[in-house]
Subunit: 302 residues, 2 copies
């Protein structure tokens, strides 16, 4: 499974039923957290997300609605007995803020926190492991801000069990078949790998565009993505306010997803002024039909 | 009215139905906040507390479950358009933490934040206005920690309307009567103030003991208080763990309230390990019968 679960879909001021930004990415039974607004640890508990399985946390920028919940989550993970290392990716000042708060509380985390500083106007590979690659890129916001591209490339071939059994290949050998090995039978004949396996599934990609003004420089990062998250703080009639505050509108998000040829669009970071979110769909769907609202507690397959 | 409303009654790790420490004190339609754990701004909204009326915030110490919600609340107050000044009282490092987070977000608060640093092993008057005095004192915890004593002294005398009318004193003059003035009638005779008023009600006092190990040095601060909040992180059987972590048990809180001659005791800061709070009452009531659980959303008159 490769999916994203929304923990918070609201912009700066929380409302009674919407929380500041946070998302959980699930892949291979591992979890990654993207942004961590105030109350994220409560949302994780509420939606029964296994906090202990989070190995990487990505913080897009240092506006509070994207990270004020991080220090509380780190504290709780430590109190809950975590010893597995945890990687955090974010602007360099974040490390100083965390360390200062740990120091004044005389807290020593029980786990190893590995901090990776993101630098303005850079782009690149943050993480590469078995099936998952994470790249980052700058977005245009009032302060340095980063988007993240999560690409799940299944590197293993898919064994066709009936075929493998027909050639009398033991199940214990299947993991080698997944890696592309041929099989030598007892009589010395060779079973070629591609007779009994299928190529790995193509990579699937989720792109999180964080907070951003409408910016066509994002297109290369979004291009061809299976699912793109783009903020829509405001509806179309507040386009000027959106620009003034380095945010985007519904129409702008849909336009960008369309121009970039994304497959599906997820919209969120709604201003607290909107109690009803339906107008966001009404404005995006005519431009980009494959749009969904980012709803808290909902999981979207990539 | 002089009352305290509980917003959070839990210790470090929030549970789905209990939040980290925060309390609102209401007096003369003014509000003060005592501690501000993560999610306090959501709790204020949930319980429909008028955030704009908060003028003073007291932070007992820099363990996260007592202040991680402060920066988010400050941000939201500013975004909501507050311009009234706001006073914050807490350990000196708190100011640096707030300023660093504002700076990295390029945020300038729209209101004047007045920071008052509390210093270890000091005690004294923090605030004195019309009816309210706030003192602070050190408690014994793992890091510097402070308790607060809120004393509401009605300085105005109480007019007896029937008496005042009998002497034909116009209602417009009642506010001067409250201040202790005599009244001169048209014929030059004097109506003495104490003929038509009663003395101000005696001071009422709420003492918040923050986080603390069992410490009889607190007795002078608690003595004779109308309502005392004392933490009970653990039940009696975990007395050793409580001491190791500079926390208290149910039995210890009740014992201290009894020794100090407090009138009523409010207990809270329950460890997340306890789903059922009834045992806390079962252990305190035999020692100190006027004990109540600090329950979220509940208001206790002082």
């Amino acid at each position: 499974m490769f999916a994203v679960t929304i923990l918070g879909n609201n912009s700066a001021i929380p409302t009674p039923d919407r929380h500041p930004t946070s998302q959980v990415i699930t892949y291979n039974e591992q979890l990654m957290l993207v942004d961590c607004g105030e109350g994220t640890q409560m949302q994780l508990a509420f939606y029964k997300v296994k906090r202990s399985k989070i190995r990487h946390i990505f913080i897009s920028h240092l506006h509070g609605d994207h990270y004020f919940g991080l220090i509380g989550l780190l504290n709780s993970l430590s109190l809950l007995g975590r010893t597995d290392p945890l990687s955090i990716y974010g602007p360099p000042e974040l490390e100083e803020i965390i360390q200062m708060q740990l120091r004044t509380a005389a807290t020593v985390l029980r786990f190893d926190m590995q901090f990776h500083a993101l630098l303005p106007d850079k782009t690149g590979l943050l993480l590469s492991e078995r099936d998952m690659e994470v790249h980052y890129f700058s977005t245009r916001h009032r302060i340095p801000c980063y988007g993240f591209s999560f690409s799940m490339q299944r590197k293993k071939r898919k064994v066709i069990p009936e075929q493998a059994r027909a050639y009398e290949i033991p199940a214990a050998y299947f993991s080698r078949l997944q890696d592309g090995a041929d099989y030598e039978r007892k009589d010395g004949t060779i079973v070629r790998n591609d007779w009994v396996t299928l190529p790995p599934a193509t990579a699937r990609r989720y792109v999180y565009c964080a907070d951003t003004i409408y910016d066509e420089d994002l297109i290369p990062h979004i291009q061809g993505a299976d699912l793109v998250y783009h903020e829509t703080t405001y509806l179309h009639n507040l386009q000027q306010r959106a620009a003034d505050r380095f945010h985007s509108t519904s129409v702008q998000a849909a336009t960008l997803a369309d121009k970039a040829g994304a497959r599906r669009l997820l919209i969120g970071h709604f201003s607290s002024k909107y109690a009803d979110l339906q107008p966001f769909l009404d404005e995006t769907l005519p431009i980009f039909p494959h749009t969904e609202l980012a709803l808290e507690g909902t999981t979207y397959l990539v």
